[in-house]
Amino acid sequence: MAILSRSEAKQILDKVLKYSKAEAASAQLTGAETGNIRYARNSVSTSGIVNDIELAVEARFGKKSGIATINEFSDASLEKVMRRAEELAKLSPDNPEAMPLLGEQKYMSVDGFAKSTADMTPDQRAKAAADSIIAAKEKKVVAAGYLEDARSFAAVANTNGLFGYHAATSANFTVTMRTENGLGSGWAQSDVSDFAAMSTGSVSGVAIDKAVMSQEARALEPGKYTVILEPSAVSGLVGFMMWNYDARSADEGRSFMSKKGGGNRIGEKMFDKRVHIYSDPADLNVPAMPWAEDDHMALERVDWIRDGVVQNLPRSRYWASQSENKDKAIPQPNNLIMVGGDKSTEELIKNTRRGVLVTRTWYIRMVDPQSLLLTGLTRDGTFYIENGKIKYPIKNFRFNESPVIMLNNIEDMGRAERVGMWGYSAMIPALKVRDFTFSSLSDAV
């Protein structure tokens, strides 16, 4: 029941909108079946399946709006939910920032549904966990991991002729391997649409190697280091930056994207010239829902940063309508692609005289929104590099660094990989960065 086909979804949406007596109305159907398995101490701890489907209906009278929802789809239920939304709209105060419902949208065609993921069974999940646990036991390390897979759909329609349907699958796996003596820890991840492309055993192998290699870490003095940040380490900082990347807060003078004296920094070269970050729902590596979650505006391919120059900032339709320059509305994206180079992480290491290899970054928080100074820690595999080789494991560091500074100090870029980031999937490269600021040492393994 959780996944409706395009025609099944359209039939329900058409029917519910026909009951509308409001000036305008929109409806959204979403459903998902999510499966998961979690293990720790080389044993499965929890596992489950969650099914849910819901219909949300919005009725509009001028700048008044009301929303009601239901999870039954009989004719009587559909009429009831629309009446309820209309009643609520009439009772609501005007929303001065309300924008009219959109007309027909041309949504990009996105292929993000894989049968192998859609058909996953509890036994397959258990086997995926077992592949990881068996690999751990063979090397005498302790596995803790989590696999989550989902098959889901969303369909939207309104009385102005808008209609869209999107079905997707996803599977995300993360694993932490720790040595029995507690002195080594390694982590690896895999984020895919097609479960057939995922091998929990081989991902686990990477984490096992890092755990074994990271034992007996030495302490280096905190300070500024050349670092090689693997994609998951980069995503922690870049994800945070993009989360705060927004036209309105910039225009209001309260963002790292605000210009001194007023306005935003679109058109300025703020980053190294190799920095190119964009979004594209139809990207084959990270397919994403082709409309904005809030108002269902069609997403297009959009460059955020190109040649180090700020090209665009997400801007709501309301904020665009207030702009003197007739700026375009650009919705918040559903994926992110940072263009990388063609080197493997090994090649980046080979070309490094002295540096620190960082597997991942953790517990990242904003320290100062003005400079976008972030703090966080390295975790699960931090190594000292000398003369092109990993020399020895080192203790984890706390960093205090701004991604704006980091993206100005790029020395080299690795190949982009798919990572799960901030609720969506992203392609992120490994980066070699100079003068990365480590402010203190951590004893954590």
């Binding site: 998902a32 009601a68 966990a129 989590y146 703090t375 004893d443 954590a444």
Partner: protein
């Protein structure tokens, strides 16, 4: 695709908060409705218990939950959003072949719920093949049919929306009139109507209420391009709308007004605007070692991160290794009976019975009665926080009652109870404490926070910083963060104010687990002093 939606709240909290939103949007009127009758819930619960037993479960619990949220979000003169959500369904947890299985459904017909019960048993059987540690449950005696409710005076969800909007508009005007460039204010109201039944013979009906009234005021200096924010000094509470009464007897007057059991948001908005503007010209801190005087609203976050989390038994044992992390407070340290977590003045206790706290319940989400116990006594580590399937690993026979799930669709697991620092036994005020400091900083409010995955190294900021020289406050400072190591930090604790300064503060969204779940928890403490802590300057320039 995450099944849950997240509401992005720009402007509230550093860099915006990601609010987990459960359930589906509904009308305010629907929130005020009563939902399913308790008798009907018992009938459904019995269907689950019988179905699962027949399918081979040796233990079953079912949680039929109706989770209501109301969020009212405003900025300046506008209401940005009013979100009402309701989520109703059942989560079923079973043990079969010594292994946990879980399934959840929003199909609450007898057939639908029985199907989910069989699914949970099937999941348990599938996983049993790879199980090497069969589940051992500490015994719990069934309590029969009982109920519990958060002791509230005014049900916040039932207060008319117009009244809430008017109040937040008054708050925003107060900030704007005092010179704020921007102000965001909000109300988050939560009501969990939870019905729990287990094969132990318990049928527990609980009605849990929580409220949070956050605010952020921004001052922008257009000329220089600088901006500063000051968050409200309220705290999320396990109280009703009466928390917003702002009673005079709950106010503590000092550098700014602080609040005990009720909050005057209008007054705090004005102070926030004045202080945000003052931040623009405040002195940037000279880095170095300072004695820190930490106000409770600030210190409770340090307690949360450096004491609450490391003493969660699932972290200690490695169950959270892949996400939240493990803990430095290992079993050997606890077994030694000598591990000095802090100085002799430091006593931490866990307590799920504290009135007004976020962690207060009658029973936890596996039917264990709420209680109080010691974690650190006279500076020595004495116990952890555990659930029924964990206590045997620390040679104990009784669960601590720390099980919680954030939704019917989430599986319950070990979550932090209220963890609090006992106040000093001798009479000692904040004034006395400041008078005794030669070179220090008085830090108020929750700022940025980060700690490593074993809870050694941390860095904390704050909302307001005042420099202390020779026993006196000499002015407001900025760009302050302190870094320390948990054990060193708590061993540097040299003084704690007395009970008259003790109060609770909490968090609505403590994240843990995979899939990630949030939980709400409070921490009590009085203003506390820590000697010679490393303070860094956080000012940076981006070109």
């Amino acid at each position: 695709m995450d099944r849950r939606k997240f509401l992005k709240l720009a402007g509230v909290g550093a860099g915006g908060i990601m609010l987990p939103v459960y359930g589906v949007p509904v009308s305010a009127a629907q929130l005020a409705g009563n939902g399913m009758d308790v008798g009907q819930k018992k009938v459904l619960a019995d269907v689950v218990l019988n179905t699962a037993r027949k399918a081979g479960a040796s233990y079953t619990d079912v949680r039929i939950g109706r989770y209501l949220n109301q969020y009212v979000l405003t900025r300046e003169k506008n209401v940005e959003n009013i979100v009402n959500t309701e989520s109703f369904g059942a989560g079923i947890r079973v043990i079969a072949n010594g292994t946990w299985g879980f399934a959840a459904t929003n199909d609450l017909t007898p057939d639908g719920i029985a199907r989910a019960a069989r699914q949970a048993v099937a999941v348990a059987r599938a996983n049993a093949k790879y199980q090497s540690e069969p589940v051992q449950l500490a015994p719990v005696k069934g309590v029969g049919e009982v109920s519990w409710q958060t002791p509230i005076q005014k049900n916040a969800i039932q207060v008319p929306i117009s009244e809430k909007v008017d109040y937040l508009m008054e708050v925003n005007n107060s900030a704007l009139n005092a010179g704020a460039s921007f102000v965001n204010s909000a109300l988050y109201l939560v009501n969990e109507q939870k019905y729990f039944a287990s094969s132990d013979g318990s049928y527990i009906d609980q009605d849990v209420h929580r409220l949070w009234a956050p605010m952020q005021v921004t001052a922008v200096d257009k000329k220089s391009g600088a901006f500063k924010t000051r968050d409200g000094l309220s705290t999320p509470v396990g109280l009703g709308y009466e928390y917003l009464d702002g009673r005079e007897e709950d106010k503590l007057h000092g550098q700014t007004t602080l609040y005990k059991d009720s909050y005057d948001m209008v007054e705090d908005a004005q102070l926030a605007a004045e202080q945000a503007k003052a931040k623009l010209s405040a002195k940037s801190i000279e880095p170095g070692k300072y004695d820190l005087v930490l106000e409770p609203l600030h210190l409770r976050l340090t307690i949360h991160e450096s004491v609450g989390h490391p003493l969660e038994l699932d972290r200690v044992l490695g169950y959270e290794a892949n996400f939240a992390g493990t803990s430095f407070a290992t079993l050997d340290k606890w077994r030694s009976g000598k591990f000095k977590y802090g100085s002799d003045k430091v006593n931490f206790f866990a307590d799920r019975t504290q009135p007004g706290s976020l962690g207060a319940v009658g029973y936890d989400d596996e039917g264990v009665k709420a209680k109080r116990w010691d974690l650190v006594k006279d500076g020595v580590l004495v116990n952890y926080q555990a659930t029924r399937d964990q206590v045997h690993m620390i040679d104990q026979k009784e669960s601590h009652g720390c099980s919680y799930a954030d939704s019917w669709s989430s599986v319950q697991f070990q979550r932090m109870p209220n963890v609090s620092l006992a106040p000093g036994k001798e009479k000692y005020s904040v004034k006395d404490m400041i008078r005794d400091v030669e070179k220090g900083i008085y830090i108020l409010g929750r700022g940025s926070y980060s700690i490593d995955q074993q809870r050694y190294n941390f860095q904390f900021g704050g909302q307001l910083f005042y420099e202390i020289k020779n026993g006196e406050i000499v002015g407001q400072v900025e760009d302050v963060a302190y870094q320390s190591n948990t054990q060193e930090f708590w061993n540097s604790c040299s003084a704690i104010c007395d009970e008259s300064d003790y109060r609770l503060g909490g968090t609505f969204f403590d994240g843990k687990g995979q899939p990630s779940q949030v939980s709400a928890v409070s921490h009590g403490c009085a203003t506390t002093r820590f000697d010679k802590i490393n303070v860094i300057n956080t000012k940076r320039k981006i070109s």
